[in-house]
């Protein structure tokens, strides 16, 4: 296996609605920050991989236009996934394992504000037996939360604690959309939104983008004073239909964590892409995180959840902390699909 590391990361100041600029204009400053801002010459990039959803843009092949943010001339080698940017990073990592690429730029973006994100995401369901119901992700997460609550897997008090801890961390993150001190007891006094979920158990609706640069071997050492080495990365998927899964567990996260080697050493911090409060508890269990692990020091997706991007941000946040000496070993997690259907786990280490 070739050693591959995250060497640069940039993200937008996430906001509920960014209507005055388009996706290319959101991405261009990030390209500059991730490349020139980090001393990485643009001509060192030999692969570009992007992540976005045509369903958000309302237009087929919408990602092609976003390449203007990088500038695809002279012709570049590039690819795209209709998945979270964490999977675009996985594709670039695989390409590096093939030995064809030394430095890759990954970007992801999502503007939810032009549409109704709950209705848009209902389109990812089985088009025959679920899609016509317009069952939305908040309702699906609420169905999952009640299974866990009634099985005793977690409590509403634990869910409120997750929200309070993430919001507190979000206050220290200048890029986060939400943040601040909230009293868990006060959260529980708020009315239910889609019972048993309250609004704060759900992620904010966010427009945002992110860029990550990864590099192999000596290129990584050259481009970063302290690269965040990817020691393990794996993703697994479960059945699509909610009725076929044990919603109190994340089996695919357990499988990916085992293959990525999460348990091979102590974990200093974890960035978890758990958009709903109870899902952070499920993912934490699936990863086998010990007490004392700093979970979501960025505030996580409960403080900013740009669709198609929030998983890549987890990798960028975890890597940045390692590169700055804020930890030696981190776990980053990304999810996709209804109720944690698909999960990616990435183990990052400093040297």
């Amino acid at each position: 296996m070739r050693d591959v590391a995250v060497v640069s990361f940039a993200q937008t100041h996430h906001a509920r609605e960014v209507s005055d600029i388009n996706e290319v204009e959101m991405l261009m400053p990030l390209m500059g920050e991730a490349l020139a801002g980090s001393g990485i010459p643009k001509d060192r990039i030999d692969f570009v991989c992007s992540a976005s959803s045509d369903y958000l843009a309302g237009q087929p092949f919408s990602f092609v236009m976003s390449l203007d943010a990088f500038g695809p001339w002279p012709p570049i080698s590039e690819s795209h996934v209709d998945m979270d940017g964490a999977w675009a990073l996985y594709e670039a990592w695989v390409k590096m394992q093939m030995g064809k690429t030394d430095v890759a730029l990954i970007y992801a973006y999502g503007k939810s504000s032009p549409g109704d994100i709950r209705r848009v995401l209902s389109r990812q369901m089985d088009p025959y037996t679920v899609g016509p119901l317009w069952l939305d992700p908040v309702s699906m997460a609420a169905l999952q939360a009640r299974v866990g609550l009634e099985a005793g897997t977690f409590t509403v008090e634990q869910m409120a604690e997750v929200v309070a801890r993430n919001r507190r961390a979000g206050a220290t993150n200048p890029y986060a959309q939400l943040g601040g001190e909230v009293d868990p007891a006060a959260l529980l006094a708020e009315p239910e939104f889609v019972a048993p979920l309250r609004k704060h158990d759900c992620p904010p609706i966010t427009d945002g983008a992110a860029v990550v640069v990864i590099a192999a071997g000596d290129a990584a050492r050259e481009l970063s004073d302290r690269p965040a080495w990817i020691r393990g990365i794996d993703h697994r998927i479960e059945a699509h239909a909610l009725g076929l899964r044990d919603l109190t567990r994340s089996v695919s996260t357990e499988q990916a964590a085992a293959r990525a080697g999460v348990a091979d050493g102590p974990v200093d911090l974890a960035e978890l892409h758990a958009p709903f409060s109870h899902q952070e508890l499920i993912i934490g269990d699936a990863l086998g995180l010990a007490d004392g692990v700093d979970v979501n020091p960025s505030g996580g997706p409960l403080c900013a959840n740009p669709i198609m991007t929030a998983g890549l941000i987890r990798i960028g946040e975890a890597a940045t902390r390692i590169s700055r000496g804020g930890g030696d070993r981190a776990v980053a997690h990304a999810t996709s699909g209804p109720c944690l259907q698909q999960n990616l786990v990435c183990v990052l280490e400093g040297e």
Binding site: H13, D20, P132, L133, V194, G208, L244
Partner: protein, 180 residues
């Protein structure tokens, strides 16, 4: 970067409607097709999985072993709520336009849960895990109605008010024991 932060500019932004269309017809195949044919007849079917459990709605392949599945099994149109959530403000196009519950329902004879809406006349207090619910079917299409009026290509509920072979041939579920 700072240019991306801050409030929207509101009325200055040019906006236009954008309708996405999918102008294709698809066939549903032997498994989903059997489910839809059953729906039209007022019958729910599942399929026997590799481990013998009855999967509803039926899947073409086993979710664990990926074996091709073929044994269609009829199940009941009533069952037990295994989890539910309460929707105070239904979204556009959801099955009910007043407060309702989504539920996962273990139909009689099934080993997995079907997701559908439950109508309790807007009363959340009626909902409970373990309660029994039954399907509220649309009526069968009368024999004198031309089933080929749309060329037989109806890709979904045709708004006729009759069963056509669609998940919304069940308008919703309702607590068992509610008088017709």
């Amino acid at each position: 970067m700072s240019s991306t932060a801050g409030a929207p500019t509101g009325g200055d932004v040019l906006k236009a409607p954008n309708v996405i269309e999918y102008p294709f017809s698809r066939t549903t195949g032997p498994v989903i097709g059997a489910f839809m044919t059953g729906m039209r007849e007022g019958i729910i079917v599942g399929i026997k999985g590799a481990d013998g459990r009855v999967i509803v709605p039926p899947q073409e392949y086993d979710p664990v072993t990926a074996e091709e599945l073929t044994e269609i099994v009829e199940v009941g149109d009533a069952g037990v709520v295994t989890t539910w959530c309460w929707v105070n403000e239904p979204l556009t196009d959801q099955p009910l336009d007043r407060p309702f519950a989504w539920a996962m329902i273990r139909l009689d004879g099934a080993d997995t849960d079907l997701v559908h809406a439950v109508d309790t006349d807007g009363d959340q207090a009626v909902m409970a895990t373990g309660m029994r619910v039954k399907a509220r079917w649309l009526p069968a299409r009368p024999a004198d109605v031309d089933t080929e009026a749309d060329g037989g290509t109806s890709a979904g509920s045709d708004d006729s008010g009759y069963r056509v072979g669609h998940i919304l041939d069940i308008a919703c579920f309702e607590p068992e024991g509610v008088p017709e």
